[in-house]
Amino acid sequence: MKQTLTIVLFLIASVWSYAQTTADFENFDLEPGEALNGSAGSGGFSSGNLFLPNSYNPDFNAWSGWAVSATTDVTTPGFMNDLSAITGGGYNSTAYAVSFASPQSVIVLQGAAAGGVVEGFYVTNGTYPYLSMLEGDGFAKKFGGESGDDPDFFLLTIKKYLGGELGTDSVNFYLADYRFEDNSQDYIVEEWTYVDLSTLGNADSLQFTMSSTDNSMFGMNTPAYFCMDDLTTTDMPVSTQHTELPAAGLNVFPNPASDTWHVQWESDQEAEARLMNVNGQVLQTFRLLPGTNAIEALTLPAGIYVLQVQSANGYLAKTLFKTNS
């Protein structure tokens, strides 16, 4: 008995001893009203130990994936106001992240958090989906429908990727739920609400999928946005193989590339490599040989990719960009 207690205490202590990092998006020093939608061509945003991929098309000023925002507009409906949280700011802060999860979005854990446990994060609705569900718009229905009795919901589902594989466990969070018999209990989330993700366990990245009861043949009518703040990651213990190798060990040129990426692997050992798209889907798995390796990019759609390298000494990740010639 005493022995068991000692082991439990030891385990608790070891968990406590893991450092935690919170991605609060304040590192972009945004003033209220400002936002970053990727138009600077960054390809994504890093905060804490997170990388949030962003895909921005300058030709038509459209973004998908993630944006970082401090906009405060809680009254304007429609997609022109797609960067605002219905709370008018972050969780006890100015800045927050906005995801356009159409059809999915991912966050990549990096640095000490790669391969570790994500504790949880705060979530709320964007002003655009909130007002769309509350009042309806030209495309999407008012939740509850014509009678107010439709059992509508707007659901955020979170799954993890580990070792290139999508986990089967998921965490579901209802951003709106109108399934109650008593309509007065129906709600649309309008405050920052904590979602516990620790049950998902260790992860390389997280995948966010949105679904709703309002769909057409063209997909979900409800605008596929949600807002995130204060995502807490757990650093991996140094002794495991999840040690981040120095970035200088992996060089990619040209980057962006239109046909081939040349990957310089500065090591005397072979490594396992995976090329993933921004949805966390593994596109290729291959052995990375010491020296220069070539990755075919010609047939890939333009956008952002993540190259994950795992060797006996640790891991390394690099963001790759593909352009159309």
Binding site: D59, F60, G78, E135, G138, K141, D214, N215
Partner: protein, 625 residues
């Protein structure tokens, strides 16, 4: 309004006085028509309505005429809102619409908003069902609607005014003046129409609601000038200006709407026709400018767009012998457009086409072969032929058959809209076949037509592999087939004249290639394409009194929202009285739309009005020189 009318009347009358001809010319039937080899293809069914038929629809829309008597499906978003057509299971872009022979479809959208067509601006309408691309080019896949203007058929003056008042604040006012002299003829038409559209409707739950933000105003003027310097040649000038200002109502699943749309257009055309011993020569020139201004103050959205299009066409028809006719022509079209979606670019489209047709008769057998070849920018559209024939079986029974290839070119939005426009799109193209029998005996007439059509490279907006935005692609193939039946009769019992018509269409129009986004399974009936359409009309008249009852049946349709809208029956009744006094005629009428107060929807989440009433008077003056 009245001052404007007086101004136009005085202008119209002034010109012929100044241009008094020295010699009297014999008055031919000076109606500018399109070549019959194009307008009435051998082997297919054509339906025509003249000014008397159109008059029965005073204050109505062209769509009312087409769905009640043509039996075609109109996707109507509600009073005053957008209305598009589906003929034989085709899309909105598969109906070609011509105005005095020139195509009216928007080069940006490839279709026409039928809610902007006042019947008062049209003297004759014809509906050709089935493919007509060999004659009319792009878009004539499901059918072709032809609109025509004509001068007075006699020398003299006709002037009139009409007012219709109805439920939900409906008002329609029209004025027209028509003059025809020795060499000159003028038509001036004005209309103004508005409604509050604040109708009540019922939800499935039984809750009563009132439509909001659905009011509209439309006004327009059309001027036609016909000059006939010699009996064998005529020059006509047409100008049609119109504006429409409509609020866009909220969906039934939307609390409110602040969106509105302004449509403005100017359509001008010049038409020259020359008759010779051997045939008819037609030359047409058209220039249209049309603009749409969509705004939504709630979402801070404003979308402005406009297009210009220039069209030129020449055609000659020769009577080679008593039983052989040949026709050949050239068509050219230049179009350009501006819209936010083009990101500062001004896409242009140039089209050139050559077409020809030969009709020959052997005894009672008549055969027609047509061909058209079109070049769109640098791309050749495959040659489209049409072969049709008809002939008698017995003295009462005749047959007709037609096989044709038809196409629709991609619209400017399909090609150049950002994101998603695809400059590499191919035209939608495919073969159709139809055949039928017509039986006539005494006062009875019955026809039955079966059709089959496959359209490949059907353009849809969807998400393709590796893309994260919607784009236009040649995604699917659609198979449409069906059977159309018409039965009509007219007879007299004593002083009562009876006329009746019944129509029933069965239409299957299915997607033949499964697609993930948009989600379409193989063999699935297209959305907003009813399988069953039926209509019936009875008109009974005695002396100055005329009563009409019409009934329509539309079966259930799939919507885009994974839902099905139930089918519905609609009834319409009209009582008209006509009073003649010297050169004046007064028509007074009362009518009820949706007589049985059906609660129905044509488009998901868009309510339609229940029973409504209209009262109208039409006063006109005719003077025959």
């Amino acid at each position: 309004m009245r001052q404007l009318l007086i101004l136009f009347l005085s202008v119209s009358w002034a010109v012929p006085i100044l241009a008094q001809p020295d010699t009297a010319v014999i008055l031919p039937a000076a109606e500018i028509t399109t070549s019959p080899l194009r307008a009435n293809f051998t082997g297919s069914q054509e339906q025509r309505w003249d000014s008397t038929d159109i008059n029965r629809y005073a204050g109505h829309y062209l769509t009312d005429l087409l769905e009640r008597e043509g039996g075609i499906f109109i996707k109507n978003y509600g009073g005053g809102s957008i209305a598009t057509t589906s003929i034989r299971g085709g899309s909105a872009g598969h109906t070609a619409v011509t105005w005095n022979g020139l195509p009216l479809q928007s080069p940006m959208l490839g279709q026409l908003d039928f809610s902007l067509l006042p019947l008062a601006f049209v003297d004759a309408v014809n509906l050709q069902r089935g493919g007509g691309s060999a004659a009319w080019g792009s878009g004539a896949i499901g059918g072709t609607v032809g609109l025509r203007n004509t001068p007075l058929s006699y020398r003299g003056i006709e002037a009139g005014a009409q007012t219709v008042l109805g439920s939900f604040g409906f008002q329609d006012h029209q004025a027209r003046a028509r003059y025809r002299g020795e060499q000159w003829a003028f038509n001036t038409r004005l209309f103004r129409r508005s409604a509050n559209n604040d109708f009540g409707y019922q939800l499935d739950s039984g809750e009563e609601r009132q439509q909001t933000h659905a009011d509209f105003r439309q006004q327009g003027i059309m001027q036609e000038v016909y000059w006939q310097p010699r009996p064998d040649r005529q020059l006509a000038v047409f100008a049609w200006w119109q504006t429409s200002d409509r609020n866009i109502p909220p969906l039934t699943t939307q609390t409110r709407s602040e969106a509105l749309q302004l449509d403005t257009f100017l359509r001008t055309a010049l038409h020259y026709q020359q008759l010779s011993k051997r045939g008819v020569f037609n030359a047409r020139l058209g220039w249209f400018r049309e603009a749409i201004d969509y705004r939504d103050d709630a979402t801070l959205l404003r979308a402005l767009s406009h297009f210009h299009t220039l069209m030129a066409e020449v055609e000659q028809q020769w009577a080679l012998s008593a039983d052989t006719e040949l026709q050949a022509g050239l068509f050219y079209n230049w179009a350009t457009a501006a819209a936010d979606g083009y990101r500062g670019e001004r896409p242009e489209q140039q089209r050139a086409a050559a077409f020809a047709s030969l009709r020959k008769e052997w005894d009672a057998l008549r055969v027609q072969l047509s061909l058209r070849k079109e070049l769109v920018d640098d791309h050749w559209v495959p040659i489209v032929p049409a072969l049709g024939a008809n002939g008698p079986i017995t003295s009462n029974l005749s047959w007709q058959a037609k096989i044709s290839r038809n196409y629709r070119i991609p619209t400017l939005n399909d090609l150049y809209w950002l994101p998603g426009g695809n400059p590499d799109l191919l035209p939608e193209i495919g073969w159709s076949a139809e055949g039928g029998l017509t039986w006539r005996k005494g006062v009875w007439s019955y026809s039955m037509t079966g059709f089959h059509r496959r359209i490949e490279d059907w353009i849809m907006w969807g998400i393709t592999e590796g893309q994260n935005f919607w784009s236009a692609n040649n995604l699917t193939e659609v198979w449409s087939r069906g059977l159309e039946q018409r039965l009509s009769c007219s007879f007299a019992t004593g002083e009562w004249q009876w006329e009746g018509q019944v129509g029933y269409d069965y239409i299957r129009s299915t997607n033949e290639i499964a697609i993930q986004q948009p989600q379409l399974s193989e063999g699935e009936q297209l959305a907003y394409t009813p399988e069953h359409l039926g209509f019936a009309r009875v008109t009974v008249s005695k002396d100055a009194l005329q009563f009409t009852y019409q009934h329509r049946l539309t079966s259930a349709v799939q919507t885009l929202n994974d839902t099905e809208l139930p089918g519905y029956h609609l009834g319409f009744a009209q009582l008209q009285y006509e009073l003649d006094w010297q050169k004046f005629t007064l028509q007074a009428f009362g009518r009820a739309d949706n007589l049985w107060d059906a609660s129905y929807r044509i488009v998901d989440r868009r309510p339609m009005p229940g029973r409504s009433f209209q009262l109208g008077i039409n006063l006109f003056f005719k003077h025959n020189h």
